[in-house]
Assembly symmetry: none
Homo-oligomer: 401 residues x 2
Amino acid sequence: MELIRQLAMKTNSKIVLLVADGIGGISTVDRPTELEGAKTPNLDDLAAESVTGVHSPVAPGITPGSGPGHLALFGYDPLVFDIGRGILSALGVNFEIQPADVAARVNFATIDEQGVITDRRAGRIPTETCVQLCGELSKIQIEGLDLFVRPEKEHRAAVIFRAPGLSGSITDSDPQRLGTKPLEVLPKDPSDAGAAQMAKRVNEFIAQALAILASHHPANALLMRGFDIYEKLPSFQEIYRLNPACIAAYPMYKGVSRLVGMKVIEDGQETIADEFEVLKKHWQEHDFFFVHVKKTDSYGEDGNYDAKVKVIEELDREIHRVLELEPDVLIVTGDHSTPTDFKAHSFHPVPVLIRSRNARVDDVTRFGEKDVVHGGLGHLAGKHLMALAMAHGLKLEKFGA
Amino acid sequence: MELIRQLAMKTNSKIVLLVADGIGGISTVDRPTELEGAKTPNLDDLAAESVTGVHSPVAPGITPGSGPGHLALFGYDPLVFDIGRGILSALGVNFEIQPADVAARVNFATIDEQGVITDRRAGRIPTETCVQLCGELSKIQIEGLDLFVRPEKEHRAAVIFRAPGLSGSITDSDPQRLGTKPLEVLPKDPSDAGAAQMAKRVNEFIAQALAILASHHPANALLMRGFDIYEKLPSFQEIYRLNPACIAAYPMYKGVSRLVGMKVIEDGQETIADEFEVLKKHWQEHDFFFVHVKKTDSYGEDGNYDAKVKVIEELDREIHRVLELEPDVLIVTGDHSTPTDFKAHSFHPVPVLIRSRNARVDDVTRFGEKDVVHGGLGHLAGKHLMALAMAHGLKLEKFGA
């Protein structure tokens, strides 16, 4: 990354990084992957004009969460930039987190009369209840810090603590199992005075929260985990000299884009066609666009093969809107695979194509997993894709004389 | 490896790592590799149901010894876990080495009346002579430490020194050439008092050994090299949460398995069929089995193309015994290539297949070097295979949220 920063140049070329979340699948002897099963004449034509391959976002065999998967695509080694669960939760609810904030993931939960956890998800309370409870908890006052409680979906929320000099080195209150009481929050290192003070404040927050929640059965408790302090990442502007924008429909992806200094475009985009029209509308304003398609992953997680195939076919139908803008570099890939057989993210490598007039076109003519493993990019680490994007956009100087 | 340790989960799935030692070969314009030349309908069927590729155990262009080759397969970066020759020799004679033991490789040798080396291998004395000489040398007493002299094959032996606080940082007595006297053993760092004391003790051992050997021409001297202290490696149990077993016929492979905490099954196995029957017998006791086939390498080293082909065909005939056990993950590979044209280990990448219901099956239908380079695994570092084994067994949690 230091190398890229040294070599990056400002030019007029434009890069589009089109991420179909969880696009990769698994093929068996009986059935192709969703991408192979989909009818994708346009993506196939694109593949024929591109250099193709597969990438592993984190490392071979490792299943990436959405945070690490996207950081890798943005060129940030996810093993170096290990963003805690709390920060990702705060990003996921689109909270404008600031450096030195400490954030944690919250589950509303059910405890019995002895205080023992009987349901770690409070019967998956409706999101409206979550919103209301977060409103009440936001009124809690802890001396010396500001706090924010933000609802996510169902029983999920994020808490953010703000004050100078806070510590994120504290343990979870969530024991991640039933039949036990929530844990006391402790400093990870008992000799760390700052962490000890932070733990004390968080325990005070939890005590007040329990008093408020007592009358809200089944959401009569809360469990906190993944405390982490937000440290600013080097930005896209600093590293790549790009003026980047994010076009996404879901908060998590906007959050992770904000983390690396992208402008997040909020223009009411919901569908793939919406997103591509927003791209068109803002085409003159930026030289790098991250466009995120969510539903490939959602249907993968649902285990719905046909629906995942349909989303891929929808992407194929709409992609002409991107091509008409004539981006100098177009990358189509995913942040991880989500095979419908798994109903979850998986470790399988992710197909990728790079279409650019500066690409060494290979002989792959179909955008499918079995085909692109024969492509010119081979099998690469996800974190190297941004360097390739820059290179194909002629945005990197020669290294050495 | 730290990452794998964090993500590893205990599950019921079973992994078999089947290593055909030195299986890879080289193809020329006139002749295929031994694996390609062999008739292997069963391995080919297996490849058709698998994801395939090649791996480089250490790094591109590097020819691995058996120690580094296997450490890589077990997921231990051989450039980080650099096990000294002495330790490998002790493992190779199946000695139960303990942490803090210092071991060295020994050659019985011939010296003339001036003490000058005339044969570094003492005319390759018969193994029985070696056994007898080791028995005599075992009687040597050095104050403050226990010592063990163990025969290997012909002129080869291992010496192990045991006492608290020994140093392995001492130089060889073996000059590795003729026409010179054996060297005095010295501390590698002259200011290292522990190493200086160790060197003194080893020189005393050598002096006593020379007195005993004087009457045993041609084995009238000994040469020592590769002193190293044995430091315990992180175990398979610690890293992978596996309960692993080794099924091998040769001591070296049992030794290297013991090094990483595997249970070494001794059940009289000699042939491939024996090994697979032992696997069957102990199937319920473990969730990871390393099964080692030696003869592919032996015939490679002999330069016997036809015999290596026959061993591969024997493996192909017997592999149904493994398949009948229905392992959740079956990996078939080697620890390095041993082309018969080389009569030695080589640097060429090693074919690999992973058969699992969670594999993304590729379009390779033959288990041969030329075919598997087109496989879905691409060309990977050998040290990543264990992560893939774990991943295909669904034994790794997601990384990040």
